[in-house]
C-alpha cells in the first residue's frame, strides 16, 4: 500500500498552447494541482469528451505558476494529438497529482538532470525546487533525436545562472553529435542524478553510473513509463520489473511506487525485454 493520495479530478480552462519545434506546451488553470504537485509527479489528462480514446494519458507536471500548470507533450499518438489540438478556453480535465516524485536533495553542491526527448518534462519543476532547497549548481544534460525535439534551455534555467544546460542530438543538428549519456563527463561527482527519457537511455545511464561507481547514498533516480489503466494504484496494470532488497525479482507499480524509482532498484535487463509503454 502506498502513500496517501491527495489527488483529485480537476477541470480548468486552457490558457495557452505553445509550440517549441515538435514539442507542445499546454498551460491550464488547475489551482489544486498547482499547489499540491511535487517534482516528478504526474497528472492523468483526459484527451477527449467521448469514450475514444478511453483512458486518460499520464503527463509530468513541467511547471507551475500560481494557479497554472504546464505540461510538455510530444505528439506520438491519438491522445497527444487531441491534447495538442486543444484551444485556449477549452476545458482540461486533470487527475492529479499522482505518483512518487523525485527526492529533492538539500543544500548539496551539484545535481545533474539527464533528459532524453520529452523526458525533459519533469525537470523545470525539479530544477526550481532543487534551487529552492539550496543546491548550488545544477547541470541539465538534454538530449534528443534532433534539434526540433530539444526543449529550449531557457525553459530549464528560467534566468537562473546557476543552472547549466548541455545539449546533444542523435543527428548532430544541435549541441554535441551523439547520445545524452556522452555528456556525462560534463557533470563530474554529482550529489544527485535525476533522469527521465526512453528506457534504453535510462538503462545505458544506469550502466554508466555503475561504472563510475556512485556511492550507495548518492541519489540516482529515474522517472519510468508504463502503460497505465488508472494511474492511482487500483488496476495493477502498470507493473515494472524491479529487484527487491533481497535481490528477488518483483513487480512495482509505475503509478504509485513510481514513476520515479531508485535506479538501482530497477531490473534494467528485464525492462529491456518488454515491448515498452507504447503499446499502440
Amino acid at each position: 500500500m502506498s502513500a496517501t493520495l491527495d489527488a483529485r479530478v480537476e477541470h480548468g480552462p486552457i490558457v495557452s498552447v505553445e509550440r517549441f519545434g515538435h514539442l507542445v506546451e499546454l498551460t491550464a488553470r488547475l489551482p489544486a494541482l498547482a499547489s499540491a504537485v511535487r517534482p516528478g509527479q504526474f497528472a492523468q489528462l483526459r484527451c477527449s469528451a467521448t469514450t475514444v480514446p478511453l483512458l486518460r494519458r499520464p503527463f509530468s507536471v513541467a511547471w507551475t505558476d500560481g494557479d497554472l500548470c504546464t505540461f510538455v507533450l510530444d505528439e506520438v499518438g491519438v491522445g497527444t494529438r487531441l491534447l495538442a489540438a486543444m484551444q485556449p478556453d477549452a476545458e482540461l480535465d486533470a487527475l492529479g497529482p499522482l505518483g512518487a516524485g523525485f527526492t529533492v536533495v538539500h543544500e548539496a553542491g551539484h545535481a545533474v538532470c539527464v533528459s532524453g526527448g520529452v523526458g525533459c518534462a519533469p525537470f523545470p519543476l525539479l530544477v526550481r525546487e532543487l534551487r529552492r532547497a539550496g543546491v548550488a549548481d545544477i547541470t541539465v544534460l538534454n538530449g534528443a533525436a534532433s534539434a526540433a525535439k530539444l526543449y529550449p534551455p531557457e525553459r530549464f534555467q528560467r534566468g537562473d545562472t546557476a543552472v547549466h544546460v548541455a545539449e546533444a542530438t542523435d543527428d548532430g543538428s544541435r549541441g554535441r553529435h551523439g547520445r545524452v549519456t556522452d555528456l556525462l563527463d560534463l557533470a563530474p561527482a554529482p550529489a544527485a542524478v535525476y533522469a527521465c527519457g526512453p528506457n534504453a537511455m535510462l538503462a545505458s545511464l544506469a550502466a554508466a553510473l555503475d561504472s563510475i561507481g556512485l556511492t550507495r547514498d548518492t541519489v540516482a533516480e529515474a522517472s519510468l513509463e508504463a502503460p497505465m489503466g488508472c494511474g492511482f494504484g487500483t488496476c495493477l496494470g502498470c507493473a515494472l520489473p524491479v529487484r527487491r532488497a533481497d535481490d528477488e525479482a518483483a513487480w512495482a507499480l509505475c503509478c504509485t511506487d513510481g514513476p520515479v524509482m531508485r535506479m538501482r532498484d530497477v531490473d534494467w535487463h528485464e525492462l529491456s525485454l518488454l515491448p515498452g509503454a507504447d503499446v499502440a
Binding site: P53, C230, F232, G237, L274, V279
Partner: protein, 291 residues
C-alpha cells in the same frame, strides 16, 4: 434505494465497484467517498498470493475498450482475511470478496477461510477470469460450474454471487445451472477474450496473446447477456460491463438487473460510480413523478 440480494447481502444502493477495478478499496478511499456506494467487489483473491502476469498488462483498443491481463495479482486469502477484513469491518460500504482459483479445492479453501470473518459481506465466485490458466474452465461449462457452486455452498452460509463468463454459447444455461446448485445471485459479465497487435513488432501486445476486453465497447454485449440471464433465472442479477454513466447503468436495471457494478470507467474518472448513483437516483425520481 436499498437492494436486498438475499442470504444476508443487502446493499445500501444498487451501484457497486467491479472486481479488479477498485483493488481492496484502499487507494480509492483517498480519492472518493467510498462509503456512499452500494458495494465494493474486491480484486480476485486466491488461495496463495500471486504476483501477476508480466507486463504489458493493459492496452487500450481503438474502439473504446480496454484489454487487461493482470493475472490476478493479489496478496492471497490469508492476508485478506487477517489484514484487510478488519479494516473493511470499519467501513460502511459492504465489501464482497471476489474469489478465484484454478480448481475446486482452491475455491473451497478460500471461501472456507473467509467464513465468519467480520468485514466480509459476501462472496463473488469468479469463474470467468480469462487471464490465468483454467480461469474460465468453470465459467464455460455449465456442469463444472454447478459442481463448483455445490462444493462452495457446502462450506458457507454466506451470500454466494457467481460471476459469469460471456465467452460462451449459452450464458443462460450456465446461470440456470449455478442457480440450481445453490448460487444466491449472479453477476454478469466478466471480460471478453480479445487481442491487440503491437504494430511496431507485429506481435500481440499482451504476453499471453489474449486478454480480457472491458469498457464501453462491450456494453451492448453485456446488456444482451444480462437480459438473457434475467430471463433464465429467478435469483437476483447484477449487471456489469461498459457502464460509463447513469444512462448506461440504468440500461441494466431496465432489463431486470437488481444492481450494477462500475468497472473500467472508474479508471477514467474515480467518481464515475458516484455520478452513476446520483444519476439513477434522479432518473428514479423522475419516473416516480411521471409514472
Amino acid at each position: 434505494m436499498r437492494v436486498d440480494l438475499g442470504r444476508g447481502l443487502a446493499l445500501p444502493n444498487p451501484v457497486g465497484l467491479a472486481s479488479g477495478t477498485a483493488g481492496y478499496g484502499f487507494e480509492l478511499r483517498n480519492l472518493i467517498d467510498l462509503d456512499r456506494l452500494g458495494a465494493l467487489f474486491t480484486k480476485g483473491t486466491t488461495r496463495l498470493s500471486r504476483s501477476g502476469n508480466a507486463p504489458p498488462r493493459v492496452a487500450e483498443t481503438s474502439g473504446g475498450g480496454l484489454l487487461n491481463s493482470i493475472g490476478l495479482q493479489n496478496p492471497g486469502v490469508e492476508w485478506v482475511a487477517t489484514q484487510y477484513a478488519p479494516r473493511f469491518a470499519e467501513w460502511r460500504v459492504p465489501v464482497v470478496v471476489n474469489v478465484a482459483g484454478e480448481n475446486e479445492a482452491d475455491y473451497v479453501h478460500c471461501v472456507r477461510r473467509l467464513e465468519g470473518v467480520a468485514g466480509v459481506a459476501g462472496i463473488e465466485l469468479n469463474i470467468s477470469c480469462p487471464n490465468i490458466a483454467h480461469g474460465m474452465d468453470f465459467g464455460r461449462d455449465a456442469g463444472a460450474a454447478a459442481r463448483l457452486v455445490e462444493a462452495v455452498r457446502a462450506v458457507t452460509v454466506r451470500h454466494v454471487m457467481v460471476k459469469l463468463s460471456p465467452n460462451v454459447t449459452d450464458i443462460a444455461a450456465v446461470a440456470r445451472a449455478v442457480q440450481d446448485s445453490g448460487a444466491d445471485s449472479v453477476s454478469a459479465v466478466n471480460t471478453y477474450v480479445g487481442m491487440k497487435i503491437h504494430r511496431r513488432s507485429g506481435r500481440p501486445v499482451l504476453p499471453d496473446g489474449t486478454g480480457g476486453l472491458s469498457g464501453p465497447a462491450i456494453q451492448p454485449l453485456a446488456l444482451a447477456a444480462v437480459a438473457a440471464v434475467r430471463a433464465a433465472v429467478t435469483i437476483p442479477v447484477v449487471g456489469v460491463g461498459g457502464i460509463v454513466d447513469a444512462a448506461s447503468a440504468n440500461d441494466f436495471l431496465l432489463v431486470g438487473a437488481q444492481a450494477v457494478q462500475v468497472g473500467t470507467a472508474t479508471f477514467v474518472d474515480p467518481n464515475t460510480a458516484l455520478h452513476v448513483l446520483q444519476g439513477i437516483t434522479a432518473l428514479r425520481g423522475a419516473h416516480t413523478v411521471s409514472g
